[in-house]
């Protein structure tokens, strides 16, 4: 070419390479455009995308088990699900449950696990009440040995290992981290207590229980640690530590605060520790291996359990299996929702097409009147329209009365037209009809009438002219209306609830039930996610088959 003399990049007027200068100019333009749409973008992100992401997340989230019973989950990891777990697991459960009961989080976990296994809810509720009594046995025994065990100040000093002792800050921050997870809030600040390194080596359980108590007392109760008598769980933990003969040996050479008192306690006879018996005594269901299995199965922080439930499956010890026949419901409901939404869409096309054609082709005075008739029900309350159908369709209703009066139907055999699929389809077709007519009308308006006349003048019959010339041009309107009606129908809730009876309800009625009544939001989220996925797949299929470019909303 001609620029053989110039080898470097093309330069702009100010000497910078043209490419870079162009990019800079474009970037500024892009930023300006972005700034203009930013309010909308942020609005959509906050009010639309974020809730959907949150919902998707809820359908797999399951951190509550691990957060509430961390030690139990750890101990259960190697449990083989054959028999009731051993004492070690029950001890972990006792300490976990004690803290959870103090924080009033145990019943939440109970209701969560009750979704998977009936009966767990009351198991946690009753045992949460009893854990204090179980621990009190050890508190009484220790206080009998030395009344100083009652003193809050003595405990605080004993567990801190005395002034100037080496501190075990890791233990404390671990326990505070645990409290943060349990209470779902952040705790910062100096609680005025640090466990001593030596004493927490000798009495590991006691130090852990006391550190949890100290953190809870300061952050949640807002009290001073050294002024509060420890929980019963701390005494139980001390009993557990003293049960080990090695503790007495270690204590013999210990010289921290209250060393004598601890040595006396180690030498004395304490009540035997049998947490397994105590917990089973509190509620005999703790002996049932299937309850433990549920806890073990649902201990990971994320679960597929909700999704399995949403497709009528469940986790069993032998893997994933279909639920028993009398518990399957969601498969039926998904199929029914699809089928009925399609029926409603077809009825809307069949009823809406002629009306849209009239609207587009009548002289404007008549078509305006017709338009008002289409829009009038659109402006009426949804509930009023649905209830009106009840009055029309019920057995003692207007339609049946007229049919009986005409002698078409015998008084004893009045037609059942409501509280079934028929009622839902009729009422929803009526309610969704404007969503079909309006897009069809706006497309038909753009089809010049001269085309039909031209076809006819070239010898086409009325039918051929319509079918070969007019109809293909109106397809984008049908497509837009169908997508609109179908997607609205699939998520409809109030109309099926009122006129659907038992055979005409949709999946959305179950979603509503789980959101507002059973509070199983995880399952509701899973059902909602599946519904969303189905709609997206159908949309994609529509795009592949008909082409989304063929859709015209106006």
């Amino acid at each position: 070419m001609s620029d053989t003399t110039q080898t470097g990049p093309m330069l702009a007027a100010d000497g910078t390479p043209l490419k870079r200068s162009l990019r800079r100019a474009l970037r500024a333009q892009k930023m300006r455009a972005l700034a203009l749409i930013a309010p909308l973008l942020i609005f959509v992100l906050l009010t639309f995308i974020a809730p959907i992401v949150d919902m998707l997340f809820r359908s797999v989230e399951n951190q509550i088990v691990g957060n509430t019973l961390p030690m139990t989950v750890e101990e259960l990891r190697d449990w083989d699900a054959a028999d009731t777990p051993d004492e070690q697991v029950f001890r972990a459960l006792f300490f976990d449950l004690f803290l959870a009961a103090e924080a009033k989080e145990h019943t939440k976990l109970g209701s969560r696990l009750n979704y998977e296994e009936s009966g767990i809810s009351s198991l946690f509720r009753t045992s949460g009440r009893d854990v204090a009594d179980i621990g009190e046995v050890f508190q009484d025994a220790l206080e009998e040995i030395d009344p100083a065990f009652e003193e809050a100040q003595v405990w605080a000093e004993m567990m801190s290992g005395g002034a100037g002792a080496e501190a075990n800050t890791r233990l404390l921050s671990n326990q505070i981290g645990r409290l943060e997870q349990l209470e779902s809030s952040a705790f910062n600040g100096d609680i005025g207590f640090v466990p001593g390194a030596e004493i927490s080596e000798i009495l590991p359980n006691t130090a852990r229980a006391y550190a949890a108590f100290a953190g809870f007392t300061y952050f949640v109760d807002g009290d001073v640690v050294a002024e509060e008598e420890p929980w019963e769980a701390v005494y139980a933990a001390l009993a557990v530590d003293l049960e080990d003969p090695a503790t007495a040996t270690a204590l013999a050479s210990y010289s921290g605060p209250s060393a004598d008192m601890l040595r006396a306690a180690a030498a004395a006879e304490l009540p035997p520790i049998d947490m397994k018996a105590a917990m089973i005594d509190s509620n005999k269901d703790w002996a049932r291996p299937n309850f433990w299995e549920t806890i073990q199965t649902y201990s990971p922080p994320y679960t597929t359990g909700y999704f399995l439930n949403a497709v009528d499956m469940e986790k069993t010890p032998n893997g994933i299996a279909l639920r028993s026949e009398d518990e399957r419901i969601y498969g039926i409901l998904f199929k029914r929702t699809m089928f009925m939404s399609l029926m409603i869409t077809f009825s809307c096309v069949a009823l809406g097409y002629p009306i849209a054609w009239l609207l587009a082709n009548l002289p404007s005075r008549t078509s305006n009147l017709l338009m008002i008739l289409v829009l009038l029900p659109f402006w009426t309350s949804l509930l009023v329209r649905t209830s009106a159908w009840k009055v029309m369709l019920q057995q003692q209703g207007v339609i049946n009365d007229v049919l009986v009066w005409l002698g078409l139907v015998a008084d004893e055999s009045r037609l059942v037209m409501i509280n079934n699929q028929f009622g839902t389809i009729v009422a929803m077709t009526h309610i969704l009809l404007p969503f079909m007519i309006l897009p069809m009308y706006s497309v038909m308006q753009t089809i010049p009438q001269t085309y039909l006349r031209a076809a006819k003048s070239l010898g086409a019959t009325n039918w051929t002219a319509f079918w070969r010339v007019y109809f293909p041009q109106s397809v984008p309107g049908i497509g837009a209306g169908s997508i609109l009606v179908f997607i609205l129908a699939i998520g409809y809730y109030i109309t099926p609830e009122i006129v659907g009876g038992t055979t005409g309800t949709f999946i959305s009625n179950r979603i509503a039930y789980h959101i507002s009544s059973s509070l199983n939001w995880g399952l509701a989220a899973a059902l909602g996610t599946i519904l969303l996925a189905v709609v997206l797949i159908l949309y994609w299929a529509y795009d592949k088959i008909v082409g989304i470019d063929n859709v015209k909303l106006g």
Binding site: T107, G119, S121, E183, V220, I332, L333, Q394, S517, L519
Partner: protein, 371 residues
Amino acid sequence: MKLTKTLLATTALTVAAGTAVTAQDMANSMTIVSWGGAYQDSQDKAYVQPYLAANSGVTATWDESSAEAVAKLRAMNEAGNVTWDLVDVVASDAMRLCDEGLALELDHDEVLAAAPDGTSASDDFGDLIVSDCFVPQIVYSTTFGYRTDMVPEGVEPPSTVCDVFDLAKYPGKRSLQKRPIDNMEWALYCDGVAKDEIYDVLGTDEGVDRALAKLGTIKDQVVWWSAGAETPQLLADGEVFIGSTYNGRLFSAIAEQNQPIAMMWDMQSFDLDGWIVPAGLPADRLARVMDFLKFATDTQRLADQAAYISYGPARASSAPLVGKHADLGIDMAPHMPTDPANAGNVHIYDYEWWADNRDDLDAKFQSWLAQ
């Protein structure tokens, strides 16, 4: 977090002790959540308006959201912005809210007024305090009403719950609530299970099948309702012959609208409705709501409420004070579910049992309905 909790604790204590709380420490407005309709009106007339009259400058706003209270409270709690001060819920929802930590646990003897004769609040309410978070107001029942003009000729009007299952003697449609609670118990009772064994039987798979099989004998003839107003409407239109609903709804259809409907109290299912205070209220709002709660649940106020609606007051000491209907002037006592003439054979619904088994049975029940 810490500060609010401390404040909460201290205010709760001071309110409880009834000392040192002056009107300045209390918020001037309350948002009270209830069910709307005649029931909310009865609350408004019996204690909200009297309270506002006695405390000038205080306003109360109603929110008719009790039906979705549990879900909404949970959402508010997650969002960290609880806008409600006092919520009217049924007992089973109160238990659930308490379990979820969404309702405040109360010491009934400290926060509620004692009976005029000095009986402590917890003794006066007795067993009706089914949860630590719950302050009962009324006893209502789910019971049956039937069309008097649709009773077949020459046949006695229905007198037991088992007549609902007797299609030969009483043909026609029935309306039942679209949930397993009560229906399963009635079905087992009419299938020959002794009343005190119902929950033992229902706790087994065979028992559930048995109850569903019994319900199956009338399934074709049942209209399932989900809102309390449906049965009175179905009865008034002659759509059903007999149907279950809340007794207060039937009372207004019979006494206020003069419909040809009569009550059938046999095996009526007692349930409770009452207040909960949401957890996590700021101190001034908590102080106000506690002050109101003490007033609104005292013996006289609960008895006053019975002049507007036929639900039994939850306090034992209120029962003798129940008078006449405020507008109709009829004696209210015979219309109370707790009246001895009506309470000959009642079904006491087991909250703990249903809290445990509700999800499981609901799945089976819904699956049975869908088939």
